[in-house]
């Protein structure tokens, strides 16, 4: 027998093959189709934006951890996810320095200050967006453009080709409306409309979402309860539900941001409550709120409610139902 000491660890001695860095890397992979779509539709500025987001977030994590002499955790890929998402939820033509600073805020204040990966209360990327919107509203809410590719497209007649308004803004301003907005369905699905960098192409987002589902990284509980709630509430208010589902950041938010583990409830019951809550808030903000779009704020508000949901929505133990009978 070799004379080196035996190793003793607690059971189990077998571990699954998914670990946190792999998981985060898979999310990055899942986001790529939407990033590509964003660059395709919005051009080089979008690429610069994505790079700035990642640089801002990963850089902030590196620098802050070095400064506070803590172990550097950029190897877990979570800052990359946040970086991509920060860029993806901002307008494609926003100045790069805004993307970088939003990333620094997301990582420095929202994540690391709270203890780093796993301890943040609010979704860093969305907090970064909310920060940019409130800090530099003039710059951060006006970088929307209509993809050049659709100029002259038949369906877009009547829409000013250089307008900076997204479909939801136009809806809010009463420029478009009614129950049937089917002419928007295809562009919204493919992504050639104005909107945040990563939110416009439902198709690309769904490809990524299917990948995450297949890898079992996310479940459908949050996205489905979220999306269905938005459809139902907007339909109740006499709006076109499909338009609402496809527009704004709903698909991006529902599949990639409301599902962020750290800031969503931990069990099935809580996740469904969370999804429904996000759905109601999103619909109400879109319909009555001050902003044309409500995904970011509704997820942030529900993030705040997560500890409370976790407290009250508890799973039934094995055998518990029968115990009462």
């Amino acid at each position: 027998m070799a004379d080196s000491k035996l190793i003793v660890t607690p059971a189990p001695h077998l571990r699954g093959n998914i670990d946190t860095p792999t998981l985060m890397r898979d999310v990055v992979i899942a986001l790529l189709p939407a990033c590509v779509a964003g660059v395709y539709f919005f051009g080089v500025p979008a690429l610069i934006s994505l790079v700035s987001g990642v640089v801002g977030c990963v850089g902030a994590e590196l620098v802050f951890e070095k400064l506070s002499k803590k172990p550097v955790t950029i190897g877990d890929w979570s800052a990359v996810v946040t970086g991509l998402l920060v860029a993806m939820v901002l307008p494609p033509h926003v100045p790069a320095w805004i993307v970088v600073l939003s990333g620094v805020f997301a990582i420095g204040i929202v994540k690391l200050l709270f203890g780093g990966l796993g301890y943040n209360v609010f979704n860093p990327a969305l907090a970064g967006r909310a920060f940019a919107t409130a800090a530099w509203s003039a710059l951060a809410t006006t970088g929307y453009v209509w993809p050049a590719s659709i100029e002259g497209a038949a369906w877009a007649r009547g829409i000013d080709a250089v307008t900076s308004a997204t479909p939801l803004t136009m809806l809010k301003m009463g420029e478009i409306g009614g129950t049937s907005m089917s002419r928007f369905y295809m562009p919204l699905f493919l992504g050639n409309v104005a909107g945040s960098l990563g939110e416009t192409s439902a198709l690309a987002l769904l490809i990524g979402a299917v990948y995450l589902l297949w890898r079992t990284h996310i479940s459908l509980r949050i996205p489905m309860s979220y999306i269905i709630t938005v459809a139902v509430v907007t339909a109740l208010y006499g709006q076109d539900p499909l338009f609402h589902v496809l527009s704004g950041g709903l698909i991006l938010g529902a599949f990639f941001m409301a599902t962020d583990y750290v800031t969503s409830p931990i069990n099935a019951k809580g996740q469904i409550i969370f999804g429904i809550g996000c759905g109601i808030l999103t619909s109400l903000i879109r319909l009555f709120g001050g902003y044309p779009e409500g995904v970011a704020y509704s997820i942030l508000i529900m993030n705040a409610a997560v500890p409370m949901i976790d407290r009250f929505a508890r799973p039934k133990r094995f055998g518990e139902v029968k115990a009462r009978a």
């Binding site: 929202v110 203890g115 009555f288 709120g289 704020y297 409370m308």
Partner: protein
């Protein structure tokens, strides 16, 4: 009725006393370490804010206005609020020890809660009638209570987080409050009237 609902929603969510108006920070940060205490505090605040709204409305409209002494608003309001809170505390301490434990111990803390005097002054400047004032007070309390309950649940989770020494306690609590306020920006510009109108 609809007007009351409008007041309820806007005071509780859109113009949340804590997150949008910055009133009542000290007890918000101070009494939110535990979810249970935060709940007790919320109840007490709802109660006191409602009561203060009603009593100060009466003082304003039956004493200060008729006598043309609006400049005594601050003095008379705070006197009335402080004295009443103290009275109520004594009464429930004697008559209902259970309620006192759940609620009473928070009462003295509330006398110096900006939100209570704030709601009284805001009611008057918004020209609310008596019932509107009462609803406004209750709604303000509910909004504050909602905020502190969310916050307390968050803080319970934060106890385990490896937050750096210097930021532990009040500092991180303030930053959390800031982010909570940022989330609540989602309610800003919310057209409550149109929402209720439906």
């Amino acid at each position: 009725m609809k007007q009351l609902l409008v007041i309820l929603f806007s005071q509780a969510l859109v113009n949340n006393y804590m997150l949008a108006r910055i009133l009542g920070t000290c007890p918000f940060i101070g009494v939110s370490q535990q979810f249970e205490t935060a709940t007790g505090m919320s109840l007490a605040v709802v109660f006191v804010m409602t009561m203060a709204s009603v009593i100060t409305w009466l003082v304003q409209h039956f004493i200060l206005n008729p006598l043309g002494m609006a400049y005594l608003q601050t003095v008379s309001f705070i006197l009335v609020i402080a004295a009443l809170v103290q009275l109520i505390e004594m009464v429930i301490k004697k008559n209902s020890p259970g309620l006192y434990r759940a609620l009473g111990i928070y009462l003295p803390l509330i006398t110096t809660n900006c939100a209570v005097l704030g709601v009284a002054i805001i009611n008057i400047s918004s020209n609310y009638n008596l019932i509107e004032s009462a609803v406004s007070g209750a709604a303000g309390g509910l909004g504050w209570g909602l905020a502190i309950m969310l916050f307390a649940a968050i803080r319970e989770r934060q106890r385990l987080a490896p937050i750096s020494q210097a930021m532990q306690g009040f500092p991180i609590a303030l930053v959390t409050t800031g982010l909570l306020a940022m989330a609540f920006l989602g309610f800003s510009g919310f057209d409550v009237a149109r929402f209720i109108g439906l």
